[in-house]
C-alpha cells in the first residue's frame, strides 16, 4: 500500500488553476522526484500535501488516513517533514537549538541531545552546533534545514528544491546524504537539477500547467517525447 496517496487534488488562485486534478501515489521507501517547468504547480502541490495550502478540491491520504482537513502541525506529527524552497530557519538561534526544536516533537529528556548531535553529524554541521544559524553560509543553512528534517525522523520527507543555490561540491555531498537517507525514509523531492534527479529518484513525476504529464522510471522519463517537448528540451532544463 502506498504511504502517500493523492486523488484529484486541485487548487485555484483567483480563477487561475495552479494544480488541476492531480493523482499521485508514493510507496513506502521510495524516492520520488517531482519535476516540471517553473509555474507547473509543484510547490503548490506539495504545499497541499504538507498542509500549508488548503486545496480547492481533492483528497490526501497518508498512511491510510484521510488528512485533507488536518492542519499542518498535525500532519507533521503523523510523520511528515517539510523543508522550504526558500531557506527557512531560526536565524537568531544557534544551530543546535534549531535542530532541538525539530527533534523535541519526537523525543524528550536525555536522548534529545543525542538526537540533535546525530542529525547534525549526518549533514556535517557537528562542529558548528554552537554558531548562530543566521551567521552560517548559505549552503550550510540548507544543510541545517535538512538536519531539522532528519531530526524529526519523518516517514515522509518533502524536500522543495534542496540543491538550489548550492555549489557543485555541495551537491555531490547532498546526493550521498539523500542516498543514505533513502534507506530509512520515503522522500518526495522537488528538484530542477536533472543530474540530481536522474541519480537519486526511483520514479519521476513530471508536471506541466498544473497536471501530471508523465510518470515513470528515470530511464522511461528520459526517453519520453512529451516530456522532452514540455521540459527537458525546453530552456528550463538548463538551470
Amino acid at each position: 500500500m502506498s504511504l502517500l496517496s493523492v486523488r484529484g487534488l486541485t487548487r485555484d488562485f483567483d480563477g487561475l488553476r495552479a494544480v488541476d486534478g492531480v493523482d499521485l501515489d508514493i510507496a513506502e521507501g521510495e524516492v520520488r522526484a517531482l519535476i516540471g517547468p517553473n509555474g507547473a504547480g509543484k510547490t503548490t502541490l506539495v504545499g497541499m500535501i504538507a498542509g500549508r495550502i488548503a486545496p480547492s478540491g481533492g483528497r490526501v491520504t497518508f498512511d491510510g488516513r484521510d488528512i485533507t482537513r488536518l492542519p499542518a502541525h498535525r500532519r507533521m506529527r503523523l510523520g511528515m517533514a517539510y523543508t522550504f524552497q526558500i531557506t527557512s530557519i531560526f536565524p537568531g538561534l544557534t544551530v543546535a537549538e534549531n535542530v532541538t526544536l525539530a527533534a523535541r516533537r519526537r523525543v524528550r529528556g536525555a536522548v534529545l541531545g543525542a538526537a540533535v548531535t546525530e542529525a547534525l553529524a549526518r549533514v556535517g554541521l557537528g562542529p558548528r552546533a554552537d554558531q548562530v544559524a543566521g551567521d552560517l553560509a548559505y549552503g550550510h543553512q540548507r544543510l541545517l534545514e535538512i538536519a531539522m528534517g532528519l531530526a524529526q525522523r519523518p516517514r515522509l520527507l518533502i524536500l522543495d528544491e534542496p540543491t538550489q543555490g548550492l555549489a557543485e561540491g555541495e551537491i555531490a555531498a547532498f546526493e550521498t546524504l539523500i542516498r543514505d537517507l533513502a534507506q530509512e525514509t520515503t522522500i518526495l523531492l522537488i528538484e530542477h537539477n536533472m543530474a540530481v534527479v536522474m541519480a537519486l529518484a526511483h520514479r519521476i513525476t513530471v508536471m506541466a500547467q498544473g497536471r501530471v504529464l508523465a510518470e515513470g522510471t528515470p530511464a522511461g522519463i528520459h526517453a519520453n517525447r512529451a516530456v522532452q517537448a514540455a521540459y527537458l528540451g525546453g530552456g528550463d532544463a538548463a538551470d
Partner: protein, 306 residues
C-alpha cells in the same frame, strides 16, 4: 546567578535605601512586574499588543471592586484580580489572535479602549475617572498592613521576585523556546509540528495574567484604583520600558522601568519640560542601542544572557 543577585540587592535596598528612593523602588518593582508580563508576549513571542492596560486594569479593578463592593479581604481580592486578568486575556486572545501584525495591534488597542470606556460607563461602581481609594481594612494581608512603607516594599519585592522567577523558568522551558522560535519564524514552527496558535494563546494568557497580578498588587499597595490605569498611556508605557530595557531579556523590563522612572524623576527636578528630556533620551537610546540596554549587554558582553 545574576537574577538572584538582583533580588538580593533589592532586598538589601530595603534596609539601606533612603525613604524617598525606597518608596520609588517599591513602585518600580510593581511596574517592572507589569513590564515583565508584557515582555512575555512582546519580547519573547514577538506579538506587539497595544492593549495591555486592559489586563493591568482587569487585575486592579478585579481586586478593587472585590474589596470595595464584595467586602473581600486582601488575599481574596488579589486572587479575584489575577483571575479577572486571566479570563479577560483569554477572551481577548481568542479574538485578537485571529489577526497578526498591525491587525493584532489595532484589535488589542480597541479592546483596551472598550475596557476603558466600560470603566467610565459604570461610574456608579467604579467612580470613573476620579477612581476610589481602597478601604484600609482591605489592605491588610495575613495581619500585615500593606500600606506601611516597609511592608509595601517587601510585598512589591515578593511580586517582582515571583514574576522574575516565573519568566526565567518559562523562557528556559521548552515552551519558552518554542515562543522564541515563533517570534523568529512562525511558519517554520508550524511545519515542525507545533500548534503555533495554542502556544500564542498560552503566551497571551500568561502575559495578561502577569500584568493583572501587577495591577492588583499596585492597587493594593498604593491604595488607589482609577481609570487612568486603563487608559492608552498604560498600554504604551510597558512597551517603552521593555524596548528601553531590552525586549526578550529577563532583566530588561526592570532595567527599562528603573531607567525611565528616574529619567523622568530627575529631569522633572530640572525643568517643567521634563518629557522633552525623556523623549530625547529615548531617541538617543533607540538610535545607539536599538535592542535596549540589556539587549546591548547581551550582544557585547554575554551572548547566553536569558
Amino acid at each position: 546567578m545574576l537574577h538572584l543577585g538582583l533580588l538580593a540587592l533589592l532586598l538589601a535596598g530595603h534596609f539601606f535605601l533612603p525613604a524617598y528612593h525606597h518608596g520609588n523602588l517599591a513602585r518600580i518593582m510593581v511596574l517592572a512586574s507589569y513590564a515583565m508580563g508584557y515582555n512575555l508576549l512582546f519580547g519573547y513571542t514577538g506579538l506587539l499588543s497595544l492593549g495591555h492596560a486592559l489586563f493591568f486594569a482587569a487585575g486592579m479593578y478585579g481586586m478593587g471592586m472585590g474589596v470595595q463592593h464584595l467586602g473581600l479581604g486582601a488575599g481574596a481580592g488579589l486572587i479575584l484580580g489575577i483571575a479577572s486578568g486571566a479570563v479577560v486575556s483569554a477572551l481577548v486572545a481568542v479574538l485578537a489572535l485571529r489577526t497578526i501584525g498591525v491587525g493584532f495591534m489595532i484589535v488589542t488597542l480597541m479592546f483596551a479602549q472598550a475596557g476603558f470606556l466600560t470603566i467610565l460607563h459604570f461610574g456608579e461602581w467604579t467612580r470613573g475617572d476620579e477612581g476610589f481609594v481602597l478601604a484600609q481594612a482591605g489592605r491588610i494581608l495575613w495581619g500585615v498592613d500593606l500600606s506601611t512603607p516597609g511592608a509595601r516594599y517587601l510585598a512589591a519585592l515578593v511580586l517582582f521576585a515571583a514574576c522574575l522567577l516565573i519568566t526565567l523558568a518559562l523562557v528556559r522551558a521548552p515552551f519558552g523556546r518554542v515562543l522564541v522560535a515563533i517570534r523568529e519564524n512562525a511558519e517554520r514552527v508550524q511545519m515542525l509540528g507545533y500548534d503555533t496558535q495554542a502556544h500564542k494563546f498560552a503566551a497571551m494568557v500568561a502575559s495578561g495574567t502577569m500584568a493583572a497580578a501587577a495591577g492588583a498588587v499596585y492597587g493594593m499597595l498604593f491604595g488607589y484604583v482609577g481609570a487612568t490605569f486603563a487608559s492608552v498611556q498604560y498600554s504604551i508605557l510597558p512597551l517603552l520600558w521593555v524596548l528601553l530595557g531590552g525586549a526578550g531579556t529577563v532583566l530588561g523590563p526592570f532595567i527599562g522601568t528603573l531607567f525611565m522612572f528616574y529619567l523622568i524623576d530627575l529631569s522633572s527636578g530640572v525643568t517643567t519640560a521634563y518629557m522633552l528630556i525623556a523623549g530625547v533620551a529615548l531617541v538617543v537610546l533607540t538610535l545607539f542601542a536599538p535592542q535596549g540596554i540589556m539587549g546591548e549587554a547581551r550582544r557585547r558582553l554575554w551572548r547566553g544572557l536569558p
